[in-house]
Every structure is written in C-alpha cells, then in structure tokens.
Assembly symmetry: C2
Homo-oligomer: 376 residues x 2
C-alpha cells in the first residue's frame, strides 16, 4: 500500500504578503521540482472568477479581460536554487527590522507573493494584467519556462509593458546587462617538467591574458538615462595534466557583462579584440554562452507611469540592472520590461538569503496602487 502523498494547505491569497511568502517558501521548488507549487498556484488562481487561467507544464498564467487601453505582464519564477539547510523559513527581528530568512525569500518567492496577493486583491485593475508564474529560471537557458511560453503561447505575452518581480529592494531597475562567456584556450607543447625548455608552457601563456583582465576597468555606460556598470572577469581556469609534465593546454573562462548599448555580436568582437591584441600564439576564443542585454525602456508611457508611482510612494529613483534577468526575453519580444521586487539582489542564492518584511509590504502597496489608480 502506498503512503498518502504529503498534504500541503491550499494557498490563501487573501492572507498578508508575509504569510503568503512563507507559505510559498515552505514548499521547496528547486528547479525541476516545481510541480507541487505550480499546482497550488494554479488551484488558488482558478478560484478567482475575474481571471482566465492557463497552464503549460509547470508554468501558470492568469489574465483579466476588462478591455483596458493598456495591458501589462507581471511575471515571476517559481523555482529556486538548491536549498542550503535554510528552510523552513524563520522570521527574525521585530518591527521595521523584521526579516524573513530562508531559500527563496529574495529570489524570488517574495516577488511571487506580491504578484499573487495583487492578483487576488485587484479584481478590476485600471490596466489589464497578465500574471505569469514560470519554472526553470535558475538552470540552463534552454530549459527556461518563460522561453517555453514565448514559443508555445506568444499571444499571452503581448503587452505594453512587462514587470519582472526579481529582487530590486523595491526600486525600479530598468533593462539589464547582457552576458557573454567565452573559453580562451591557450596551447602549449608538452614535455617532461625536468626538461621544461623542450616544451611550451600553456599555463605561463595565460599570464598576459590574466593581467589584461586584471587591468580592465569596470566601465560605466549610460543607456536611456541609466548608468550600466560592466564587468569582465576570469571565472574559471584549468590547465595541466600531471605534476611532472609541462602543460600543453590551459583554458580560461571569461565572463563579460556588457551594457545594453552593445549588441551581442559587438560584445563578442570586443572580447576577441582584447585577446587577439595580446598576441598569444595559437590562442583560441570560443563563445559558450551569449545573452543580449535589454535597454531600460523607461521612455515608454506605461513604464514611465510605473516609475513615477514607485518614486512617489517610496522615494526610490530608477536605476540600471547589472545582472542578467529575463527582462531580456521581453525585450526580444518588443515588450519594454523593468525589474521590481522585494529583497536585496546581492542576497540571492546566498546561504543567508533573507528579505525585509517592509520590502514585501512596500512592493505590494506600490504594485496595487499602480494597478488601481486612475491612469493619467
């Protein structure tokens, strides 16, 4: 006889955002294991008569049909990186200092809770809304649930603006840097290390490349009024096969986070030029990962209105997003997109991931206001 499956209480979308965040976090949903949480989200949304609900794999979408002049997508992912003994959630501190600790509180079930609470609370938004909850954001790009929705249901993603509830500490962060990874392979010629002069040392050959990366400044690039700071880093290095052999191969993996002023091809050209300029004999550059950046799009009226609402309610001015996020997928669809969500993004994936309770309330309040205040 099989044991009964574990029972999880249904999500109560009318509870406060903190309680909803805890409920979401305490159902682990590491990438690839989102079904249970997606089922809970789907069930809760289907109970709301003002929403049409769609399910695709472990992604759930829900939308209003009020015939408004504008439609906005508000999106978030259901999965997290692996749990690091940081579940169930714990609430520490009091009052303005209260923080919810645990995997997913920042990246990004706090944001998902804000979405779900607004989806339930705002039955007649001034802008039609499409709520999107998707899977597989924290793993390889080809598995990404939002990418799958773009392929399967592009019509559901049409909108004037997309808001991605990734953590921004409650500020609007526009666009995102692109990201490029290349493997630079430095060749050598093997020899016994007791006769090193007979070989060519591939690890030694990496010296000028590493020095050039060390010397490269973190450039600041202004795009549509926001300042994007770039990064160029060696992230992995490996070379050598034995402790008595002059290595004939060294591979340096370089990650370039480039401002959205550059196209992906321009980013590749820039890194190739840097490597080629070093004149290392036989050095090869292979692109292993490339995702475009997204311009901030704050010149779009719907985006400008959202930015104004957030600034009025929180005093926070829009900033550039330096990490790559799925806003770039909306940018590719021609939908301007911004990031806006609770939690400090630098705590995403950290063992001590934790979200200020005040952030949860602020984000819920700002999003609800934007969706309910009469449009200008």
């Amino acid at each position: 006889m099989n044991a009964a499956p574990p029972t999880t209480p249904a999500l109560d979308l009318t509870s406060d955002v903190l309680a909803l965040t805890r409920a979401l976090c305490d159902v682990p949903s590491v990438s690839g294991d989102e079904t249970r949480l997606a089922d809970l989200v789907e069930t809760a949304l289907r109970a709301l008569p003002h929403l049409e609900v769609l399910r695709d794999g472990d992604a759930v979408m829900a939308r209003t049909h009020l015939g408004r002049a504008e439609r906005v997508v508000v999106a978030g992912h259901l999965d997290t990186v692996p749990v690091a003994a940081n579940l169930p959630t714990r609430l520490l501190g009091e009052g303005a200092a209260a923080e919810l600790w645990g995997r997913g509180t920042v990246d990004m079930k706090g944001g998902v809770a804000v979405q779900l609470a607004c989806a339930a609370a705002v039955t007649e938004p001034v802008r039609d809304v499409t709520w999107v909850f998707y899977d597989h954001e924290e793993v390889a790009s080809e598995l990404n649930g939002l990418g799958r929705l773009v392929r399967h249901h592009p019509e559901w993603l049409r909108a004037d603006l997309a808001v991605l509830c990734e953590p921004t500490s409650g500020a609007i962060e526009g666009g995102c840097n692109g990201t490029l990874r290349v493997e630079v392979t430095l060749p050598g010629r093997a020899a016994h290390s007791a006769r090193a002069w007979r070989g060519v040392n591939a690890i030694h050959a990496a010296a000028p490349l590493l020095q050039a990366l060390a010397d490269h400044p973190a450039e600041e690039v202004e795009v549509d009024g926001l300042t994007y700071r770039e990064s160029l880093s060696a992230v992995l290095i490996t070379g050598g096969i034995a402790t008595n052999v002059v290595p004939d191969r060294c591979v340096v993996t370089v990650n370039y986070r480039f401002a959205p002023a550059l196209s992906p091809q321009e980013a590749v050209d820039r890194v190739r030029a840097l490597v080629d300029g070093l004149g290392i004999p036989g050095a090869q550059v292979e692109v292993t990962d490339l995702a475009p950046g997204a311009r901030p799009g704050l010149d779009h009226p719907a985006a400008a209105a959202f930015a104004a609402t957030v600034q009025r309610l929180t005093g926070r001015t829009p900033a550039a997003k330096v990490g790559w996020t799925d806003v770039a997928r909306f940018a590719e669809l021609g939908v301007p997109a911004v990031n806006f969500g609770p939690g400090d993004p630098s705590l995403a994936h950290a063992d001590d991931e934790r979200c200020p309770v005040a952030d949860l309330d602020t984000c819920f309040f700002a999003l609800r206001t934007w969706l309910t205040e009469p449009t200008g």
Copy 2:
C-alpha cells in the same frame, strides 16, 4: 574448479640481451603488479651458484662474495607505468636501425635485461657486485621498493658506487637534479560576476606569478664538473567554482627542478622568495613534494673508472642527469651513484616508447667489461 594460472616460460639469462628484454617486457608489471615478474627473476637468479639471493616483497637482490677490494651496486626497477596498448613488444627496423617497441623497453626493462645478462655472464667480477631489482618506482615515493630496502636491509646496499640502469642512451649521467613541488594559493573574495567590482578575483591575482615563471630563465649550474640545467614551471592551475562567480581561490602548482648545488631547503627558500617578491596579497606557498638532488660523485675512484671504461668503449663523455632518479636515494646513504642504461630517456612513459637494439648491446658490453677488466 579454478582455471590454471597462466604459465610463463622461465627467463633464460644466457639468451641475448634483446631476447631477454622482450621476455621481460612481455610480462606486464605495472606498479603494484610486479609479483609475477619478480618470481621469474628470483627463480632465474637462484639457479646461479655464484650468487646469494634475497627477496623482500617484490624486490629481489643477489650478490657475489669474492672478497674484492670494492663492491658496486647495480640497480633497476621491475615496474612500469601503465601499458598504452603497446604490448606485446614489436621489433621494427633492421641492422643498426633496429628498435624494440613497447612499454618498458626504455624505462627500464632494457636496463634490467643488461643487469640480468651480466649477472649470469660474469661469474667472477673484479669488483664484488650486488644486483638489485625492485618494485614500485613509478608511483608515490613512500611505496618505492628501493626506499623499503634501505629501511629493511641497509647492509645489502653498502657499496663504493651504485650504478642505476635508468635510460641514458648508453652514456653515464651523473647525479640528478632535485625536485620541489609547491602549491601557491592565491586568495580572492567571491562576488556575483555581474557585480565583479564587489569581489577580488583570485584568478587575476595569478597573473604576476605566471609572468614571473614565464620570464624565469632555465639556469645552468656547474656541479663537480657537470652542468645541470634547471626548470621552473607551473604544471597545474585550477580556480573558480562557477561561471557566474568571481573566484575566491586559485591554486598554481609549481615544479622546480633544482641543481644538486642547492639543498632542498635552499630550493624551498628560493621559490618562496620568488613568490613573496611579487607582493600578491595573501599568497600562500605550501610544499607538497621535495626530493634532494644528488651530486655526480664522478671524483670517486670507482666512478671515475666506470666513466673511463664507458668513454673508451663508446666515446660518450659523462653528462648531468636532469631528471630525478633513485640515485638520490644512494646519495643519501653516502654511496656515489650514476645513471647508465639503454634507451632515450625522453621516450620513457611515451606511447611510442622504443629502444635501439644497439643500445642494449653497447650497455651490456660496457658493463661486462667494467666488471671483468683488471682494476688499475
């Protein structure tokens, strides 16, 4: 019922050196698997009435007791590195160009065959001889069979001179370089690679170290009249944990092959000074392997006589040995030691390992002559 063990023909020590080398090579004896070959060697030596035979694990020793004024040790190891589909042996080429191909032909069953053929042929040597055949030379130093014999039977290794039949293409190579390995750990501070300026990149920190190694000249050092060429090489490098994280650790393994003019401690001091002089914050140097070199000892009368015999018969002058060999173990016992054996040492461990047949004959002839010609 168990299958009968494979039968291997007994070794015929009166066959020519080529046939004996083939017979030895065609009994695979990768380190740790030497028992079958050691049994064959022991059986063959016990059949020689002029020798006293001793067995310790898979090492076999045999010696004469003729009351000569001098005693020499002639030593070789029975094990090989793993077979690379290069057995059984093949004889290719003809006449002076004939070569015996296969694992062990160079390192060092050709030398062992020379030893065994001389042990059988020279029943009344002008110098008393201790023949040593040992195990586990190609693996970690603490397993080394010669090291075990030094601990278990030091009296058997007392001699005026030791000849190690490692490959030298039939020349005398005196002493050996020492070898030092250190791991240089470069620290950093992790950060997301989208915000690289918040971290400290440990891979970038390796740049000045790799450049210093690249710039370091292969110094030549004269010791007791022979010139030793040194090598200083990065042999391994590893750093980074993920393609989106600024690495907080990079480890460079450096191998220094130092002339026997330096003590082991002096070699360590020199590498530490090089690293310290770079001023890389937090760089740590850890010694992981250290073996002393051996001075050539060609000023000893027995060594000088052997060198003179080889030079007269082959025209080859003594040279320095740059690779580390077990001659250093004899040096530690106070026994001067030289390398002398058939085969090009640069083909040791190679997939195309092969030994000129002429080398086998030359080495047998030179060793037999030295052991039979009246001493001066």
